[in-house]
Symmetry: C2
Subunit: 187 residues, 2 copies
């Protein structure tokens, strides 16, 4: 199983423009790439705030084959929305979430943020690949790609310019990732 | 006159790895690029902390033709080190610093940080070009490229892979920069 960290940021590493929720600053080329990449995944993991920001869209698209797992400290508050196999809420640790997805046969998992979720999974060595869109913007203030300390070495796999303004799509692999078997052992 | 913001960051926009001073994480390819780019500039602007971190190296190389301007709230504390035309200390605002450099005939100014200095000059519309090295690392914690709010649109001029690991050298121009004449008028 492979976990892909998928994000769009400003050049200075902001997931949001100041305190605006969501990523309205992202280019349409990023939006198309995001949709296509997400469609190639059989599971998606996100934090509560990311879910709440996209709640209507997600609830309207639960008939795909993709399992959405939402990490929240209060899964009980979301029991009414739960649809096992399509939309689940959990307060489990990242390693346990990854091991559970592997056990259930997920092959390709999209990690959708936000910054705390990215940081938790990165620090635990669970992200195998980062697919990061860098928009040609500087914000200086906003949610950070990683909201929490980590120290991860990457290797650039591909760099692609997506439009005239210079949106970059950067794909990195993470050489030191825990192999999935080790993650499974840790349950 | 052109002001170049020159920096090396992690993919998530950190200038430093956690609380380590300096940029020891930067690749040797970045170091060579930085030296060559700095040598192409006839002035350099930096904050006090950046100067103090490189003090010995800077004091040993004052015989070049490059004027170094150090922004500090306490220029009087550095009077002993001052060498007019080579190393100067000022508490002037970014716009006044830029106008003074233009008046004195500077053509190409290297803006060397740190994050507060980058943010001040970016927010004032004074940076014409950003030359940013993105190392394939994630830190999650550290000084940010911009330590202060801004909202700047960039246009990617060039993207170049510098080594096998995938260090990227990204050059952006800033379409909305104040023309130097306007900056000079503001003195």
């Amino acid at each position: 199983m492979e976990i892909l960290g998928i994000a769009v940021i400003s050049l200075d590493g902001c997931l949001t423009r100041h305190d605006e929720p969501g990523s309205a600053f992202a280019s349409k080329e990023d939006a198309a790439h995001f949709r296509a990449t997400l469609d190639s995944c059989d599971a998606a993991v996100m934090g509560r705030a990311t879910f709440d920001g996209e709640r209507e869209r997600i609830l309207a698209s639960l008939d795909t084959d993709r399992l959405r797992v939402v990490l929240t400290r209060s899964p009980d508050a979301y029991r009414d929305l739960e649809r096992p196999g399509a939309l689940e809420f959990t307060d489990a640790a990242p390693r346990a979430v990854a091991a559970d997805l592997a056990r259930r046969g997920a092959r390709r998992v999209a990690l959708l943020g936000g910054g705390q979720i990215y940081a938790l999974f990165a620090a635990a060595g669970l992200v195998n690949r980062w697919i990061v869109t860098v928009e040609p913007r500087l914000f200086g203030d906003g949610t950070r790609l990683l909201e929490g300390k980590a120290d991860v070495r990457l290797e650039l796999v591909e760099s692609r310019r997506m439009n005239e303004g210079g949106t970059l799509l950067l794909t990195y692999r993470v050489p030191d990732t825990d192999p999935p078997a080790a993650a499974a052992d840790a349950r």
